[in-house]
Symmetry: none
Subunit: 271 residues, 2 copies
């Protein structure tokens, strides 16, 4: 195994990866993406594992290693094994460390939000009732068109769901109130409204829900707490309580629920 001209340092490796990954055929690009996102795995995985992770055949992964300039996987792995600095402290130690260190520093802040996010996620699983999601999925999957509304702090959630539905060929429309245009007449019988709102609840959203319910159109709501004003309108309500830190919340749990709901609806429709 003589020296082949592969990258000799992690830095050189990264540069080479960047340089090479410009135009790469499909499978090899998958390798590049997976490797970029999981560099740390190289040292402790087999080709087969890496290949599976990247969603390709082991032979494809081998070719990828060679394109990078190595003689094969083993040589590439050696680079990572040699520069491996293991013994990272575990999550809770790191968290503690970050929190203590320079209170108010950006990374201490990050640690707080990460912790809040984790707590929220845990809580989400505990509080969500399977049958309620099931109802929501059923309603949304049967809709001609899904109308999504969510303003201010809920707008990110609304826009992400709109994106997800679009990707899965589910007919959906985002009511974004751009230019104060009101599209409520686009909501027709057979459609469903998906309303997302958190305290303080936007009046626009509440109003839309109210007017739509009067016309007998089903509403699925993503909201917080059980006292949400949306409860009055007999909607299928999924409530998420997000742990907040300061005035802001990380939205981790909300988005998790949102994306799970979207994917469930998407697969239900095509299935």
């Amino acid at each position: 195994m003589g020296e082949t001209g592969g990258p000799a340092t992690i830095k050189a490796f990264e540069e080479r990866l960047l340089e090479v990954s410009e135009d790469l055929p499909k499978r090899l690009r998958q390798c590049a993406d997976y490797v970029a996102a999981n560099k740390d795995r190289i040292a402790v995985s087999t080709v087969a594992e890496m290949a599976e992770g990247a969603g390709v055949q082991p032979s494809a992964f081998m070719r990828f290693c060679q394109i990078l300039g190595f003689s094969g996987f083993s040589e590439m792995q050696r680079l990572f094994r040699d520069s491996y600095v293991g013994g990272w402290p575990d999550y809770s130690t790191r968290l503690h460390h970050l929190r203590e260190k320079a209170e108010g520093s950006p990374s201490a802040l990050l640690a707080e939000f990460v912790e809040a996010g984790r707590a929220s996620l845990e809580n989400l699983l505990k509080t969500i009732e399977p049958q309620t999601i099931e109802q929501a999925v059923q309603a949304l999957a049967g809709a001609h068109m899904i109308h999504i509304i969510g303003l201010r702090r809920s707008f990110p959630v609304a826009s992400y769901m709109a994106y997800a539905f679009e990707k899965m060929d589910v007919p959906a429309m985002l009511h974004s109130a751009v230019g104060r245009l009101d599209n409520r007449n686009a909501i027709r019988s057979g459609d469903v409204l998906l309303a997302i709102t958190f305290s303080p609840y936007s009046s626009e959203t509440i109003e839309l829900v109210e007017s739509v319910r009067e016309r007998g159109i089903p509403v699925v709501a993503l909201t917080d707490t059980i006292v949400s004003p949306l409860r009055k309108f007999d909607a299928i309500a999924l409530s998420v309580s997000e742990v907040d830190f300061g005035a802001f919340r990380s939205l981790s749990a909300t988005l998790c629920l949102a994306i799970a709901l979207s994917v469930a609806v998407g697969t239900r429709r095509s299935g």
Copy 2:
């Protein structure tokens, strides 16, 4: 490969090591001493290497592993490898399988996303470098105006940051490409561009970054992995790797970083 009763955690391993190493014959004691001092090497070494390090024969090292309660070296190594890649057991493939089977009630799907979100958050803490966030905060806090761009899947993140900045009275402008309006001339000297993009990278974002960098305006980037095209443009890049489900990710980690960054900038400015 049946379950052998070896230590199941690093902690248990350490206890067992301590307990055992009281009275051990010469060679086995060498093993114990070497392992105690080089626990991190176990994950990336072969028996032969470990044995050489300890100054014993491979077979002696094997016996040592068995005394610790493992079936052999491989089993002991697995403990260290698994704990290194930390609760991130091949989510991409797990979720992939889940989708293929289209099996999975909505709540099972939710559980998967929650689990993926949790792992992503842990990983975020592990990979983010405090000094890079610090740089980003500094750049953003010193800007006259923060211009935010993030399209498609990144749009939720962009819009949430715009919302957060607004709430904290930080001058910020969201470039949303509504109506294909191009606002690039609004970006002036003294401003900073905050670009958010994830694979597949929107060409609009890349182009904007490129044109802005040519004018010498600083760019802070929120992106995934090191192969992101934004790397080329010498931006302050914060990379988050998030587990995805086909085209979707729960964005938990990304939003956590985004909100932490926003709040840090907000307090830095008013402080």
